[in-house]
Amino acid sequence: MSVTESPRGVMVKTQSPFLDWWDKNKGKWTKWSLITLVVAYVAFLIVTPIVALALGAFEQGIGKVFSSLNHPDVFLAFWNTIWISLVVVTIHAIFGTLVAWVFVRHRFPGRNLINGLVDMPFAVSPVVAGYMLLLLFGRNGMLAPVIDALGIQVAFAMPGMVLATLFVTMPFMIRELVPVLEAFDTRQEKAAATLGANGWQTFWRVTFPALRWGMIYGITLTFARALGEFGAVLVIGGGVQGRTETATLFIYRALDERQYIGAYSAALVLGLFSLILVLGSDWLRNRKR
């Protein structure tokens, strides 16, 4: 989805006749009332809730925040989240690159189907994603005999939660890499091949460095999305306290049990973590350019 990578443009002063006319007839009044309207809307819709979260968590002082977070359940929940996210990011970094590569470089029948299929997780509710896996791996699931024979537990255990997060984060890596690969000039690869490099050398020395920033951004988005996944891991993992509880599931339970400060503090930590991740890689990328 190209939404995330759209230009954050700085507009050059325009000489639009429409705007000239607009300025002349509607004057500065419209300009400033439109700006005020938009700023007020964004402030109300986006800034206020974010500020409210910070204020809510610190309502009873900073000590209370730390003491509410200093609990084995919280540590385990965040540990589970980070562990799942790291596994998911690693798998997508490898296979997502592979899919993007095949999609851009190979021509074969059914190639366009990939394009439509990759976006599918955007259209599937996280709950439905978790439920699909439950249908496969649950107690009466389709693959239950196989799973039982192998002696591994997928539903209500880590493997299921990793699978659910994999499904939900599928598009990010591929969507970041496809445009980079498409823009990449293959003459560089040909030059390397002419100079005697073999396939792997060409990939590692020429193609991979060009993909690096796309990969870093794809990994960041995947990681941030994996950290915040809730519906799918709730359905497939069950949110068993002290076992399959992730950070989001902990927040959900804490709210339910009216431990508000604990819920708010954990939400603040999780939100800050993924904000820093995304804004940090954004900043890095802009600086490199």
Binding site: P49, L98, F167
Partner: protein, 289 residues
Amino acid sequence: MNLQVTTTQTNTKRTLSIPWGQLGIRSAALVYLALLLLVPLLIILQDGLREGLAEFWRQITLPAAWSALKLTLWTSTLMTVINIIMGTLTAFVLVRYEFPGKNILNGIIDLPLAIPTLVTGVMLVILFGPQEALGAWLKDKFDFSVMFAPPGIILALLFLTFPFVVRSVQPVLMDLDLSQERAASTLGAGGWTIFRRIILPPLTLPVITGGLLSFARAIGEFGSIVIVAGNIPFRSQTAAVYVFGEVESENRLGASAVSIVMVAIAYGLLMFAEYLRNRRSKGSKKEST
């Protein structure tokens, strides 16, 4: 076109040196996609339709299911309308006007993409929860409740999808060809004529695409809604929350049927948006050559 020819050439060269490499990579990528995306999708289709179409229809027309689907559809529609108006306005203000703090505003737009949706729900609870200041005041003064009611759902959805319309319209607005406006103005067109005939037509498609993306994203939203709206049948239970409830109470048929409806609507709209976008990029290519 040139690029494509060189690609096939390098590919044939590589196929000659490593005969199985290319096929291996391709099948690895395809198997990964099929296992992770196609299999779950087929499973849920099979499960929802296993008792026949009549039973499928009965499950989605059960009063609770039907009202959950209706609630999801109307809140998403209302959200999309607001989002289209405010998103287009925001993009317009960002592109056409200069004002202090513009870059900050531009940066804030993307924040919702970096915040876990569950955390968004927590933020709204802090603002509008019945035990919180603002929520209690609204309830006392105006008997207006945001939590556990449709307004909360719409607010959460507006927060989540705000970037979609803005980031879809903004680049098109920036690329608008001023020479066309100038030509129209030279030929004697007035302000409104220029707006209607030159500025509006190229904006329709990105506005619609952004709206469709918002709508498709909203259909499946769970994390923020389950916190903000709770799980009250016939009042604040959306389709995703209904599916969650049916999964918990082990009504597989109902869960699968409503899931299929949600996926069909969201996926259909997503593909339609994709089609519109492709048609636009093809159209602009034709014009430029």
